[in-house]
Symmetry: C2
């Protein structure tokens, strides 16, 4: 099978987005942007042994590859639209590819994004997706807008993906619900979009709350004070902390893909409404300060966020 | 060094393109598109052992990663503008990274493209670039526009990169000029742009003339007749063919990154002018037919174009 047959067989879906003039199958894809909008683009790679295990299901790998990229677009408050897929495959395993492509297609339909091109290469499994989205001009939520006195919020519950990974690494068998937290993170697109005009800054938590909140305060040239007792935790995580006195997972574990954002206090009631509307738990975990430091009340500083190298 | 320090140290260059509102360093980049333009986007991966050798210089790898993506944008007649870089690295080799990033920066400046984001991951060396460009609405040159009677042209000389690769694989030491053909292909951006409104179809020759011209005829639902004696060849290639009676390299060898395009006969004199203006050799190698077959006069059919799997 050559590359073109491979793409034809596994990655050639009908496109329903009328802004796309030309999808996969030429040297490049072509699409239109409505006036008044900006393009928002982000790239994330998933690599075997780092982001997933050799034996993870192709369905989960496809889902997560798309979800982590959608999460970046969500963190900008943008609407995800198009993506390219560069996939490096060790062998041509048709069953694997069938399952991977089926899941990618299903996930892309769920989130209304169109595959507009890509590349296939032979080598150790490596999946790079570049996601493109659109946002009304000047409406994107950047990391740099947090101001002294703003509240700090997070969506969902933090640390469960890291707890699941820890269990796997220690040879335990996680529950299905725990595996879902690791393998099927939900990109918070609806929430990100709803926060436009309210949130002063936003980031998705991929490398751990501590590190990702640090990016906000660095980009915004402010500080932050949070309290560990305010961090929203699942029952499993509460038990883990009780047993081990270990806060490193919710603070430094990665792969949450929840949003961490800031907003002025006078938007608090609107944010509560958004939580209800989006059916997502949103928790205030602290406030922005002018100290330029991240202070975490109740935390002794143990544990480090995910380091790529 | 964490990912952010790595990006800060090696991939954080000042951006001079005023259409970029936000470059690397947030969840996603943001840029504006002038009205009347469309976005053109393409992705290509370079993987160790497939697109380059383990010992190839980081400068060459960086150059080629960018050049092959620029070549796709050139083949659309578009102007390259922005790119994202997803790089998977086996180890943190600061000397390697320094040389890679210096060459990437230099090449991006040469071709006026801006690095607007990316991702770094640990694993076997793998470089995926997603290139974004712009083109005036409806002006992109697609593969699908070739019509019966159109002339078929190629730029430059064909097969030298494959000849160089063959020599390396056979343990010979190629000349410097031959290595340049393999490692430093020139993206034909100026030519592609000049062909807008003249060329009826265009593709860049990455997988071999035979296979890439086949994509044009398939997309255009036409046929093609070319004659091997018209294919532009370097002196080394002429000697190789004389000695070995082997036409497989210019026909089926990949990595040329020259443009293969079609245009009606009445544009022939304009195309000759463009060749002069762009200082690029352009050669007519055949005509489009209505047979739906690719006929290659003087070629017995030996050799297959590059198959990815």
């Amino acid at each position: 099978m050559n590359e073109f047959e491979l793409i034809q067989n596994y990655f050639n879906w009908p496109l329903s987005d009328s802004s796309i003039e030309l999808g996969a199958g030429d040297d490049a894809a072509i699409f239109n942007l409505d006036s008044g909008y900006q393009l928002v683009t982000s790239t994330d790679t998933l690599s075997e042994g780092v982001h997933f295990f050799k034996d993870d299901s192709p369905e989960d790998i496809a889902y997560k590859s798309l979800a982590v990229n959608l999460s970046d677009i969500a963190a900008m408050g943008a609407t995800a639209k198009y993506f390219t897929l560069a996939i490096t495959l060790p062998i041509l395993d048709e069953i694997w590819l069938e399952q991977f492509s089926e899941s990618l297609k299903e996930t892309s339909e769920k989130y209304h994004v169109s595959l507009i091109g890509g590349d296939t290469t032979r080598g150790p499994l490596n999946i790079t997706i570049t996601m493109m989205g659109v946002v009304e001009k000047s409406k994107a939520i950047k990391r740099s807008g947090a101001r002294n006195g703003d509240n700090i919020y997070v969506s969902g519950e933090i640390g469960d993906a890291a707890l699941c990974l820890k269990k796997i690494n220690e040879g335990q068998k996680p529950h299905k619900a725990e595996l879902i937290k690791l393998n099927r993170p939900i990109p918070r697109l609806e929430l990100g979009s709803a926060l436009k005009g309210l949130a002063s800054s936003c980031i998705d938590i991929s490398d751990g709350l501590k590190q990702d909140l640090s990016h906000i305060i660095k980009a915004s040239e402010v500080g932050a004070m949070i309290d560990i007792k305010d961090i929203p935790l699942s029952q499993s995580m509460i038990e883990h902390i009780k047993e081990n006195d270990d806060w490193s997972l919710p603070l430094c574990g990665g792969d949450d893909y929840e949003l961490c954002f800031t907003a002025p206090e006078n938007f608090n009631s609107e944010i509560i409404n958004i939580a209800e509307f989006c059916k997502i738990k949103i928790t205030k975990i602290g406030v922005i300060s002018d100290s330029k430091e991240l202070e975490i009340k109740g935390y002794d500083g143990q544990g480090e966020s995910y380091q790529h190298f």
